[in-house]
Amino acid sequence: MQSGTVRFKFSGEPIEARAGETLLGALWAAGRAEGLQAGCDGGVCGACTVTVRFDDGRPGGTDLACMRLVEAGMEVFPCPVEPVAAKAPACGPSPESLRAAYPTLDRCTQCRSCTTACPMDIPVMDSVLRMQRGEWQAVAEDFTTCIHCGLCRLVCEDKVQPHNMGLWVRRSMALAEETVPAAPDPGAGEWAWLLDGDREERLRRATEFRRDGKVPA
């Protein structure tokens, strides 16, 4: 299944790759790494965004070069996305504060381009509509897996900034959450016991302490 050579085009130039390779791997092997920015090579940083199309009419689209396998007849172009200015979150999202931060929220014409562009399969457009309705919990869930590659924003003709809003909603929810109580934690006696002795003795004591989290009686 993964054998043989695959020919595709990158920025108009023909490249020969091995079947089963990712686009990024193929570019590296071909000495073409300079042509495409990369970050994690693991599908989570969003650096290596590309557009993909086929000369035979197969549907193309946008994707991550570090995850997408090479296919014969592919035409690939880099599609870098610049970040936009960050907006301060609110303490708990509200329809007013979201619209104040992102006035283009209601410009969505429901063309669904954002959903199509998302390499993480997030229902982006549906989530924008949920934002319009103030369904914060669902929005936070939708954007749990967002890598902020920015493709949804890039393809939006109405200047809606879905992923930025998704993060804004999540951060605003976090700010309203109960944080960690600053409980008093003296424990001085336990520290003295744990840190007494040489390495071997400390290891022995730590091993005992792990049993129930106390200095053994």
């Binding site: 299944m1 993964q2 089963g20 390779e21 990712t22 791997g25 590296w28 092997a29 000495g31 073409r32 790494a33 300079e34 920015q37 990369a38 970050g39 994690c40 090579d41 693991g42 989570v44 940083c45 650096a47 995850m67 396998l69 970040p83 200015a85 960050a86 979150p89 936070a140 749990t144 897996t145 967002c146 890598i147 902020h148 993060l167 999540r170 951060r171 605003s172 976090a174 700010l175 959450e177 109960e178 944080t179 960690v180 600053a182 934690d185 424990g187 336990e190 520290w191 744990l194 840190l195 390495r199 071997e200 400390r202 290891l203 730590a206 091993t207 302490f209 792990r210 129930d212 989290g213």
Partner: protein, 561 residues
Amino acid sequence: MMDWAAESMAQVAATREARVGRPGPKIEGEEAERLLEEYHPDHSGKERSVGVGKNAGADRFPLELAALLEADSPVPENFEARVDLETDVLIIGGGGAGVSAALALQGSGLAVHLVTKLRLGDSNTVMAEGGIQAALGEGDSPRRHFADAFVGGHGDNDCGLLRILCESGPEAVGWLIGQGCLFDRNPDGTFRLRPGGGTSVPRVLACRDFTGLEIMRVLKEALRQSATAVLEEHAAVEFTDDGAGQVTGAVLWDRKSNALVTVSARALLLATGGSGQLRLQGFPTSNHIGATGDGLVLAYRQGCGILFPNSHQYHPSGGVFPEALAGSLVTEAIRSTGAQVVNREGHAFVNELAYRDVLAAAILREVSEGRGVRTPTGRKGVWLDTPLIEKTQGAGTLKSQFPGLVHRYARYGIDPAVCPLLIYPTLHYQNGGIAVDGWGKTEAPGLWAAGEVTGGLHGSNRLMGNSLLDITVFGRRAAASILKEISERKAVTLKGLTRYRAVLKTLPGFQAAEAGGKSAPGLFPEASRLKFHRAPGKLPPMAAGPEPQTPFEPPDPFARG
């Protein structure tokens, strides 16, 4: 899909019912020590001493790292360090440690520049999946956290650093929430805590299997709200000094304009992360493409010592199939949730929550003794029985708790809810690193360090969830220390480099970079063939380096013939 493994997969399925509630055997104490000695790559003997710098002659280094420390600087011999940019604090590295520090310096009145070789946030932080430890559960305490990490680190941990880490856990989580991080909660609103390998109580907080991504995207956004100046695609290639041992700035390579930029700073924070892309002993890596050990090289040239240079973490569950996911991380949290590690015959040969080094060694032994599974491209591995989770925790658990894993494998037609995953150890973390004190101060005045580039905190084996805590705690502590102790602006020279070079030239086989020799820091994975252009401006930016000299990942699954 995976027909070649059908027989073994059938055996895994056949033994599944009998394995419910019966984890594999524990390997502890002397048995564990013997296993590590025999099978852990740290003990393979593929190491040597170096002839230059603070550790010269004293410690053993992996061959790949030793070669970097004994390589020339890419800065031309006739380069004059004329200051192009002045700042107060120069932070090198755009991952969690660097960004935490920058946020902690907000409002201080100091000019802060954060420079990063890639883009802001492109780091190992963003790739961390399983979680962050903090002693917040029932029956837990910072002492218990300490005891777990100390035993896991084989008692090699710096007790002072480790105590700070464990005592700072709850506050650090509170700080992250204050920046806007959402951690998974139980229905009653308490944090959902998972166990990790070597935790004696559940202590790991998570945002599904995207914990590092959650932390990084939030900190990145917070940083963009701040006045910090960010220079992306600026790689640090050398430090400058005042001629008397104080680090006073850096020479950066601006990748876009292909120019060298000299920066003068009153304090520097090294937060360049780890070195998985050195692919020690040919192992694959779970690290991002920038993890090439640059910080070790830069600080070492300024007289800093490296602790535990030969201690690396091979994460037990690196991907094996498909080829595109070879070496990529399969989070440990999936084992905390009940996935067992089983061999070709469907036998659980080791407890899935053993310390990482022990589990990795057990997997290497199993494979070397012929009880692993071989892929069509020649890789080997053992099974991570993910369908077991669906059986014990209920259908849909994987999709709801591990959306990243499910999505990643779905691209290649594999559903972990139905099909077990092949795993094999992957180079994951640099346990050792630059020596620092509790405030991130290195042995070189003017230079602080935080995060994976430092050593001592984790001893010779790190626990899951302690690296995300490390960067959050020590990034901010370094910032606090810088605020207190920042020096006056000093001269910017390359005298330290000149001295280091003088020793390099006495080493047998040394070849200057300008004469075609190897240069360090490496900046990019060898496999990428990306290179520092030694003569800025003279080479077109599209030029690629030569073909890699050494195989970077055995077996090369695509090797022809």
